[in-house]
């Protein structure tokens, strides 16, 4: 049986290459100083979708929400074997937190009628791991997080192995399902030469700055990446952007971690109690 897989991907700043200029004075990320990359675990999600297609057939569609620059990661998905790509972009998406983001993405995924939705566990910029689970709730479908392996996929039933951190669970459910995939799941494949050669000229309308001639030309060649805005998604504006985002940033602190000596804790129950008490008092935990 062939499956319609939708993979959600995000373009993120490469937080592994943090330099002195990585943070703006106001504490926000200086995206210009960090190269933009394909969120690593989203590559694992894409690989899992491509493996499903390799063995069962079907289609893989990559969806990214972001500025037109995010077209880069969509092209990258096409190079690696995605059949189709969609950029969700709209100025009104700005300032969306994870709840608003998952609402907007749910509108896009509904249009694609997915059997299996795959996301990376979390993005390396926000590290929340919230969008996948929230999206499943918005779609009203089953979610399985921390997926390491698909054990079996047959008809409308899927069995997966999920990593719980201190062991594994094997979970079985009916489709449709949303999976969040961890990096232990697989090694993502590189671009395929022919897909690279074919799709190197694929562009979103936004990248073509509305040039109707070019848009038509690429459309005829099958190289126009789909671009959807909130009107097309028929999204309810109260759930999008700032309005749809209950998260309020109270304060941003620039934290410089520096070792300030060490403290020996007695390996006794009292020693542990004292340490926990101290950590609660200075708000490290709790």
């Amino acid at each position: 049986m062939a499956y319609n897989c939708v993979v959600l991907i995000k373009q993120v700043p490469d937080t592994k290459r943090i330099t002195g200029q990585a943070m703006n004075e106001d504490g926000t990320v200086n995206r210009a100083a960090l190269p933009a990359i394909f969120n690593p675990e989203d590559l694992n999600a894409l690989e899992m979708a491509l493996q499903i297609k390799d063995t069962c057939g079907g289609k893989v569609t990559a969806v990214a929400m972001g500025l037109p620059a995010a077209s880069d990661v969509l092209r990258e998905a096409l190079f690696r074997g995605a059949d189709d790509a969609v950029l969700v972009t709209d100025r009104r998406c700005a300032a969306s937190d994870t709840l608003a983001t998952s609402y907007i993405l749910s509108c896009a995924v509904k249009k694609l009628k997915a059997d299996i939705v795959l996301c990376g566990r979390q993005a390396i910029d926000g590290d929340t791991a919230q969008v996948g689970p929230q999206l499943a709730e918005k779609l009203g479908i089953t979610q399985i997080t921390y997926v390491e392996e698909i054990k079996e996929l047959k008809d409308d039933e899927i069995s997966v192995k999920r990593n719980t951190g201190n062991g594994w669970q094997q979970v079985k459910t009916k489709l449709p399902v949303l999976l969040t995939v961890i990096d232990e799941a697989n090694t993502p494949r590189v671009a395929g030469a022919k897909m690279l050669m074919k799709n190197k000229k694929a562009r979103t309308p936004a990248e073509l700055e509305g040039d109707a001639g070019k848009i038509k030309e690429l459309e005829q060649k099958g190289l126009l990446i789909k671009q959807w805005d909130l009107d097309f998604l028929e999204a309810d504006m109260q759930w999008c952007g700032r309005d749809g985002s209950p998260t309020k940033v109270h304060r941003i602190q620039s934290v410089v971690l520096a070792a300030k000596g060490t403290k020996q804790i007695e390996a006794t129950q009292d020693g542990l109690n004292d340490m926990i008490h101290e950590l609660i008092v200075d708000h490290t935990i709790g």
Partner: protein, 596 residues
């Protein structure tokens, strides 16, 4: 995150300064494939863009995926199971799967068979990067020459049967030539090919030292004319791995452990004839071998590049006598000689690949019969010369690169000292892997025999005169004068040797070839130093940069001025007329030692 293309400025600089668009025109003709295949290029600019994009992707695969598996594959090796099947090291299965997904297993095959239709030059760069990742892998990846041979000489039916699967990587091939009594002397092949009453062909006999003999597609040379000895009794066949193909053993080798080297018994194996009878060795295998020699040159280059990098890294970080050892004159000299040797091989390999692309391209044009008779005549004339250049440069390139990989791997261990002798560093593996490169696909001695013909019949002189007519930068004038003098020295030696007979020519073949090679590469370095497209390259890790052109001018100066006295000395030796190797062999070598 390693990328063996983007981290190698020399590859990029040379490719940027070669007329790759011209090669794309030769490969793509009128670019009409763009209408049939959505990935085929529409013009030369797009083709060149494609080459670089694919090299970049492959560079990432080699750096991030292949190289980290190399050590384990070397330890694990291949296993011959009781059922006669070969199990490859785990990493090799993973890599072959990844290469197949990367769609690079049919790089030079035409689009219609699922290939990328890339020129040989780009395959050489790819082979180099693959070998830098793992030398053994190149013996499977680089066997794309088998598909090329099928494409060049087999019937359409055979092409349809085998090429699509080879292009996707679903099958891999083996080039089955060597036998217990037929190594360098392939004319002595004994494996029989015979026909049944219906005209179907079968193979019978034993082949030995077969690289990737467990591959699915075998290209086998066998004696089809039972009554005819020598090369003209041999034809080329293709067969599938199957129940009548028995792997009898796999060799326990010094290096390239992840590449299975098999002894194969063909027990009346059904097969198909490639092309025409009796042309097996004289035409098809010669073409196959030439391609394979360029492949081994690229493999050698990849090993050399890897070995150099380990040495440089160690020399800059290992502290002795109060500082990094690369401050010591002897180590400094060793390290930059290694670097120049690597770039020397690359210069010659890429140039050779370019010439071979012209050979292939012109042949295609002549065969297509699309040009006017006058234009065809002109191309045919050029092709005659190009063929002579290719048949001289190919063995030269294989000889230079394989000797380089041995010496650079040796020196890499030397720079690391005791640590290099231990299994902790990859240079000991590279040293073992390098050793075969100057042996298989024709030993260095045989490459010299092939190349020296070109030096003696005027091909080298003609080719060098073409190199000399390039537009060089003015600052290289004194170097070009030295190279002109070196060419004269070469011509004088050729003149001297001519009267001395063929044995004498072969006796001093290596020195004659060395003179030609050093002169040719001297010109190539000067071409690089006169390149139209410069690039900035790092000089240290603090952001200091220099121009690659200026760097190449420095290399050219060191290379040419240091070789000049050597060339004179080699010429003196050639012209000294010493024939003691013939006259006094037994006296000097003494009695044959008893090893029992």
């Amino acid at each position: 995150m390693a990328n063996f293309y983007t981290d190698n400025e020399d590859i990029q600089f040379i490719l940027n300064n070669m007329n790759v668009a011209e090669l794309a025109d030769l490969m793509e003709g009128d670019y009409s494939d763009a209408k049939k295949f959505d990935f085929a290029p529409a013009d030369a600019q797009e083709a060149v863009e494609n080459y670089k994009l694919v090299l970049k992707t492959l560079g990432e695969l080699c750096g991030d995926f292949v190289a980290p598996r190399s050590e384990a594959m070397d330890h694990e090796g291949n296993t011959l199971n009781d059922d006669g099947k070969v199990t490859r090291p785990k990493g090799m299965y993973e890599i072959l799967d990844m290469l197949s997904k990367a769609e690079v297993m049919g790089m030079t095959l035409p689009h219609r068979f699922g290939g990328l239709n890339f020129p040989c030059l780009i395959l050489s760069a790819a082979n180099e990067m693959v070998s830098r990742g793992d030398a053994s892998l190149m013996n499977i990846f680089g066997l794309q020459g088998i598909a090329e041979t099928i494409n060049a000489f087999a019937s359409e039916e055979i092409k349809q049967q085998y090429l699509p699967d080879l292009a996707t990587g679903k099958t891999t091939g083996a080039m089955v030539l060597t036998e217990p009594d037929a190594g360098s002397d392939l004319q002595a092949c004994k494996v029989k090919a015979f026909q049944d009453d219906d005209g179907n062909w079968y193979l019978h006999g034993v082949k030995r030292f077969i690289t990737n003999g467990c591959g699915e597609v075998h290209l086998v040379m066998a004696r089809s004319e039972a009554d005819r000895a020598g090369g003209l009794g041999l034809s080329l066949f293709v067969c599938d791995m199957g129940p009548t193909v028995h792997i009898r053993r796999i060799e326990d080798k010094m290096g390239i452990h992840a590449s299975p080297t098999c002894e194969i018994f063909y027990d009346n194996t059904p097969c198909l004839l490639i092309g025409e009878r009796q042309r097996g060795l004289v035409t098809y295998v010669m073409a196959l071998m030439n391609g394979a020699r360029i492949g081994i040159a690229a493999q050698s280059l990849g090993i050399g590049e890897a070995a150099y990098r380990i040495a440089r890294n160690y020399a800059s970080s290992r502290e002795q006598f109060g500082g990094p050892i690369e401050k010591l004159p002897a180590v400094r000299d060793l390290v930059i000689d290694m670097k120049i040797e690597v770039e020397e091989s690359r210069a010659l390999l890429y140039e050779t690949s370019r010439v071979v692309d012209f050979e292939i391209g012109y042949e295609k044009i002549v065969e297509s019969k699309t040009l006017s008779s006058e234009k065809t005549k002109e191309i045919k004339q050029k092709l005659r010369m190009i063929k002579r250049y290719a048949s001289m440069l190919t063995p030269m390139s294989k000889y230079v690169a394989s000797e380089m990989s041995n010496s650079v791997a040796y020196d890499s261990i030397q720079v690391l000292g005791g640590s290099g002798f231990m299994r902790d560093y990859a240079c000991e593996r590279l040293y073992r892997d390098a050793r075969i490169t100057s042996i298989y696909e024709g030993t260095s001695q045989l490459q010299v025999v092939a190349a020296v013909r070109g030096v003696n019949n005027g091909t080298a002189t003609k080719y060098i005169s073409e190199l000399a007519s390039f537009e060089y930068d003015a600052n290289l004038k004194d170097l070009l004068d030295i190279l002109a003098a070196n060419t004269k020295t070469m011509d004088d030696c050729v003149e001297y040797v001519k009267d001395k007979g063929i044995d004498y020519m072969d006796l001093y073949g290596r020195k004659l070839v060395d003179i030609a090679v050093k002169t040719i590469i001297g010109y190539l370095f000067c071409q690089h130093a006169s390149g139209k497209i410069d690039m900035e390259v790092a000089v240290d890790d603090k952001g200091k940069k220099t121009s690659m052109k200026a760097r190449k001018a420095k290399i050219a100066r060191r290379y040419i001025t240091r070789n000049n006295p050597n060339i004179k000395a080699w010429a003196d030796t050639i012209k000294a007329g010493c024939t003691s190797s013939f006259d006094s062999y037994n006296e000097i070598a003494g009695a044959v030692p008893d090893l029992s």
